[in-house]
Amino acid sequence: MDLIYLDNAATTPLDPAVAEGLAERHRTLYGNPGSSHPVGRAAGRALDAARARLARRLGGEAGQVVFTSGGTESLGLALLGGAGDTPARVAISAVEHSAVVEAASHLARWGWQVDVVPVDAVGRVTPAALDAAIDRDTRLVAVMLANNEIGTINDVPALAATVRAKAPRAKLVVDAVQAFGKVPFSVATLGADCVAVTAHKIHGPKGVGALWTRATLRPVMRGGGQEFGLRGGTPSAPLAWALAEAADRMPGGMDGVTALRDRLWAAVRAALPAARLTGPAFDDGRLGNNLHLCIPGLPSEPLLNALAEAGVCASAGSTCSKGRFSRTLSALGRTKDEGAWLRLTPGRFNTAAEMDEAARRLARAVEALRAVYD
């Protein structure tokens, strides 16, 4: 039975062209970019080129792009490296990824006050809610551009304006891990101070990400002064290339993938009329690859297991919060008992036929479980 991979929000299959180029560069660009001999300088040039290319893609300058190991490290650098010596207030939205939540808890141990900004019924942070949660003592604000579970896109420029007006000394940190390559944006118009991205959500390799920043940060990982002194450790020119390449190979919008998602939802709804969409409507600021639904009357885990057995790779929500009920769904006031929660996220390498087949397998799994639970 063919596997159908519909968990692209967790991670994506490596683009074959990126895989090939990466293997080639691992052979040829093995130098330490800091070395002055030809092998090192070749790697250094490639690293600079990747940085410039990624900066272009983000709408920023090369000198503002720090390569990291991925989204979590980028967000950790922005929040922990962006916090000054004097404890103050940090505001994060109620639906942030664990990378932000855990960094904020760490700040709490340093004496910071953590303010959680509630979201509306579709998971969106409104300027009014943000305004109510911050004041002049707020020095850090973290909101995501697009939510990892239900795909809600925030109006970051509007939120940035709120931050400037109410907490002018605050740095705005934006988790763009899910949005990068899928929602067109430019750091220039977002109004953020730090923006975190990663390669593995856009068919690049795991192990490389970046932080665009125009703020003054301090390094979290110290060492040889690499990456403008913000991140010690020998940078990998091949991985930096792979991030820039993967980003450039994303169409920017998500038309093809959005069509797949829409087709999948239509097929699921036809087979399972009881299924309900979670989060915003498709035309109301939602990631084009995100389908999140609730199937009433069933628990989540058996349905996911049955889908896995049927060769459909999906998830209930964030892969990074195993064992607990989703923080995002809780913030929306939803509960575990409402039914089986299911996140289906197609990607560039899925086909229309797979959408139809996945809906059929889902319907069969639901039917088999209903026979037991009804």
Partner: protein, 408 residues
């Protein structure tokens, strides 16, 4: 830990001592051979070129690489049938040589740490010119002269052990306890009902410690139970497999039985009905595999299914003896052992247990055999058991705990 707790000298030989009691019996040679085989198997699964040799009711483990010492000690500490283990220096039986070796060993092991010492000597070679107390006194004097440290026989900081045999003498300063018990396999084979929880791996370990070799049976219930839960049980089985040169894990697909019980309205008896099916299936597998008993992690009063009444209801099912090593343990005692044998961290990973599926909030605390038998009349018991047995998978884990691939 003081600085004297870990060996500092370079060793390529371990002396492992046997649990003494069983040395006298008629099965002594069988036990001894089995112990050496078990230990050789565990060592070979991890370390290259290790040789296990027996002599005079002792087991010697010869290392090819002194860097393997820590792992080799850890394996001995985890081998039932051994009572203790020491890294030893071996020298020819010659008084001047023994004296030199004793001073050198004590100085190395002492490092810069202050402290008193004592010598404990024993000779098995009765023609040696000095008696055991004379050897101890002689070496004590030599060490005192060389190091200027005081002797303290009651609470020495460092104790030198010496054993003089006919042609070779062993010296040691460190002795670590081993589990005692009997060599795994010397008591025959039992079928362990293994779940992903804390208790059953500990029950399996305790049965191993008393000489039982294990087969394990796990009841898996896809899709209600995740594949990760099964992986977790396999990880626990690996911890048991390394102690007995491999283990067979029988994975029973329990889904249909659970669905049938739910459909028949198992209600307050649900868990007991599950457990009766588990016992039936385990007993059939036990017979097939020539196991002489079942073994479970059951514990008096821990959960509703483990009251005396409810234990009786499952116990009556099979003529096979059921070992319940944990029956009177407190949970904290069980957790202590689980930590010691390295299963605790795996056991506490989140997992779902098929016993909690479709279970009402108020399970029967004191079920009667009569009510259970009445409920079972609505079930095709024999057909369900047959069906589950037919779908049972056997996973063979090797002495290194890894699944064995056909042809290996």
């Amino acid at each position: 830990m003081t600085d004297l707790d870990a060996p500092r000298a370079t060793y390529d030989l371990l002396l492992a001592r046997l649990g003494e009691l069983w040395l006298k019996g008629r099965n002594r040679n069988d036990f001894y051979d089995r112990l050496k085989r078990n230990l050789q198997g565990s060592m070979s699964a991890e370390l290259r070129g290790v040789q296990v040799q027996g002599s005079h009711g002792r087991v010697f483990v010869k290392l090819t690489d002194p860097a393997d010492l820590d792992r080799a000690l850890a394996i001995c500490r985890d081998t039932p049938g051994l009572s203790s283990v020491s890294p030893v220096q071996r020298v020819p039986t010659d008084l001047a040589g023994i004296e030199r070796a004793a001073v050198e060993l004590v100085q190395t092991e002492w490092g810069g740490v202050e402290g008193t010492f004592a010598v404990e000597a024993k000779r098995t070679f009765k023609q040696f010119p000095l008696t055991s107390p004379q050897i101890a006194r002689q070496l004590g004097g030599v060490i005192q002269d060389a190091t200027a440290r005081p002797v303290d026989l009651s609470q020495p900081a460092l104790k030198l052990g010496v054993e003089v045999n006919e042609d070779r003498t062993h010296l040691w300063t460190h002795t670590q306890p081993a589990p005692g018990g009997l060599p795994v396999g010397s008591a025959g084979r039992v079928m362990l009902l293994l779940s992903g929880g804390i208790d059953s791996p500990v029950a399996g370990y305790l049965a191993q410690k008393r000489g039982a070799a294990l087969d394990a049976v796990y009841f898996h219930s896809p899709p209600f139970i995740s594949a990760q839960s099964r992986d977790k049980v396999e990880a626990l089985a690996r911890r048991l497999a390394t102690r007995q040169n491999g283990l067979r894990l029988h994975v029973v697909h329990f889904t249909e039985i659970q669905k049938a019980i739910k459909a028949a309205g198992g209600d307050r008896l649900t868990v007991l009905l599950y457990r009766r099916f588990m016992y039936r299936i385990a007993a059939r597998l036990a017979k097939r595999r020539k196991c002489r008993a079942l073994c479970t992690g059951e514990n008096l009063g821990q959960v509703a299914s483990q009251t005396l009444e409810n234990l009786t209801v499952v116990d009556r099912l099979t003529e096979l003896l059921t070992l319940r090593p944990l029956i009177t343990f407190d949970k904290l005692e069980i957790m202590d052992i689980a930590r010691r044998i390295g299963t605790y961290d795996t056991s506490v990973l989140p997992y779902d247990d098929c016993c909690t599926l479709f279970v009402p909030r108020n399970p029967a605390i004191k079920a009667s055999l009569k009510s259970i038998e009445r409920a079972e009349r609505h079930l095709e018991v024999e057909a369900l058991v047959e069906q589950a047995l037919a779908a049972t998978e056997e996973v063979r884990l090797g002495a290194d705990g890894q699944p064995m691939v056909a042809g290996e």
